[in-house]
């Protein structure tokens, strides 16, 4: 089953796919752009992976100061960064390199503490698509990637759908891609994850208890390019969803 959370008519609603758009739990059928899309589940701790696709590591290798991969590169994000499907993401004036990152988001469903690899998938509730923007102009080499790069308001897009784990027979065989203004700029497959989902759950739950609603953003493959004000960015994962986002400038924010 696919479920969204949307705002419509002054209320918050669960919604499901419908032939002409979405259907709210109360029966109303609406066009996809007639509702406001929120992140599709109640989001807890946001755990993100850097450098988790071999080709992306190679892409960035010129600027990396370490090359040996000893353990997953994990960083955390706060709730203020989140927006939903069809949302608007701010590109600060003067930034030279702002890029999207198409990622499979794994949503925890059952508390996980010191869970071994073989048991890990039983703790997954489902999946959604994440577009996790970065603005590389602000990179500093202290606790990198630093929050000013990766935890900006409106820069973590989630949705449109929360897809039950039972409907995704193999989450490690999903093709993903990004379109900028209709042109494919990024392609990959979750088969190429360096640390797969069970490995990440085993690694993380060894030191931090994962709870329902916590989400693991599993990293992005090769193919990140700069995006500009006005660009429409679509991050898509087969069987999971097609997440639309538009880049807007400072003027929208009165800056």
């Amino acid at each position: 089953m696919k479920t969204a959370r949307v705002a419509y008519g002054g209320g918050l609603h669960a919604a499901h796919p419908h032939a002409v758009g979405v259907q709210l739990a109360d029966g109303r059928v609406l066009a996809e752009d007639a509702v406001v899309w929120l992140p599709p589940f109640d989001v807890g701790t946001i755990i993100a992976l850097g450098l988790n696709y071999a080709d992306h590591v190679k892409e960035l290798s010129k600027e990396l100061t370490v090359t040996a991969k000893d353990e997953p590169l994990v960083f955390l994000k706060g709730p203020g960064a989140l927006i939903g499907h069809r949302g608007f993401t701010r590109r600060p004036a003067g930034a030279k390199f702002m890029h999207y990152e198409c990622e499979l988001a794994v949503v925890i469903g059952k508390t996980a503490k010191k869970v071994k690899r073989d048991e890990a998938m039983a703790h997954v509730a489902g999946y959604t698509v994440c577009n996790d923007y970065a603005i590389r102009d602000y990179l500093e080499n202290w606790y990198r990637p630093n929050l000013r790069v990766k935890n900006r308001d409106s820069c973590t897009v989630l949705g449109p759908w929360f897809v039950d784990a039972a409907d995704v027979p193999d989450p490690h065989a999903l093709s993903l891609r990004t379109y900028v203004n209709g042109h494919v700029t990024q392609q990959g497959c979750t088969a190429d994850l360096i640390n797969d989902i069970p490995a990440l759950i085993e690694y993380l739950s060894e030191f931090m208890t994962l709870r329902a609603g916590d989400v693991i953003l599993t990293g992005t493959p090769d193919g990140v390019v700069n995006v500009n004000e006005g660009d429409e960015v679509i991050t898509e994962i087969d069987g999971i969803g097609r997440l639309i986002n538009t880049i807007v400038g400072d003027a929208s924010f009165g800056r």
């Binding site: 709730p79 929050l147 000013r148």
Partner: protein, 228 residues
Amino acid sequence: MNQFNLEFEAAPYRLSGVVYGALLNDQAVLDTLGEKAVQPPYKAVPSAPVLAIKPRNTLVADGSEVTVPVGAEALEIGASLGIVIGRTACRVPASSALACVAGYTIVADLGVPLESHYRPGVRFKARDGFCPIGPRVVPASDIRDPDALNVRVLVDGAVVHHSTTGRRIRDVARLIQDVTEFMTLQPGDVLMLGVEAGAPLARASKSVSMEIEGLGRLNFSLVAEASA
């Protein structure tokens, strides 16, 4: 583990559970790195606030037990002023930043000692229970100058570190300004001002207390992790 549910007598009346912290907010910490701070992997001293997140699994109440993991001889005991946000703070200038503060509390920023500052070190700093907070939130109106409060850390009752909330690279108002330039803080969020250089270490079986002038005393005890 004590239930973390810190309510208090001023708007917004309870914490949101979102905790951000400033790191390296004391010039003395950078000074101890010396030339290393401008060599790889760092290459330059930080220009923007250096921040970390303490996720919800780390948050515990006053009086909790905190587990020292197998393989760690001791934990680093960082005592920080916790700035509790009272109203939505987005692009707040330093001159009006204190008006966004509901109150203050004590935050224990615990970590397995890690020499490198290059990566976020989540496995070292975001373990279960690694962020005791409390014992209460004191309304901002009761704290005359949040940048001049005495701070003491006690281990088994003996003072092991004495510092203040002053002499920071960014004081409370400036930190709120520089953080809210790119990320909005919400009512009930906690922003740690950051610890002073020389944070002490404490081993399993020790009792730790932190005192910040006017904010009371936060207690927790360290216990050894059972071997697998």
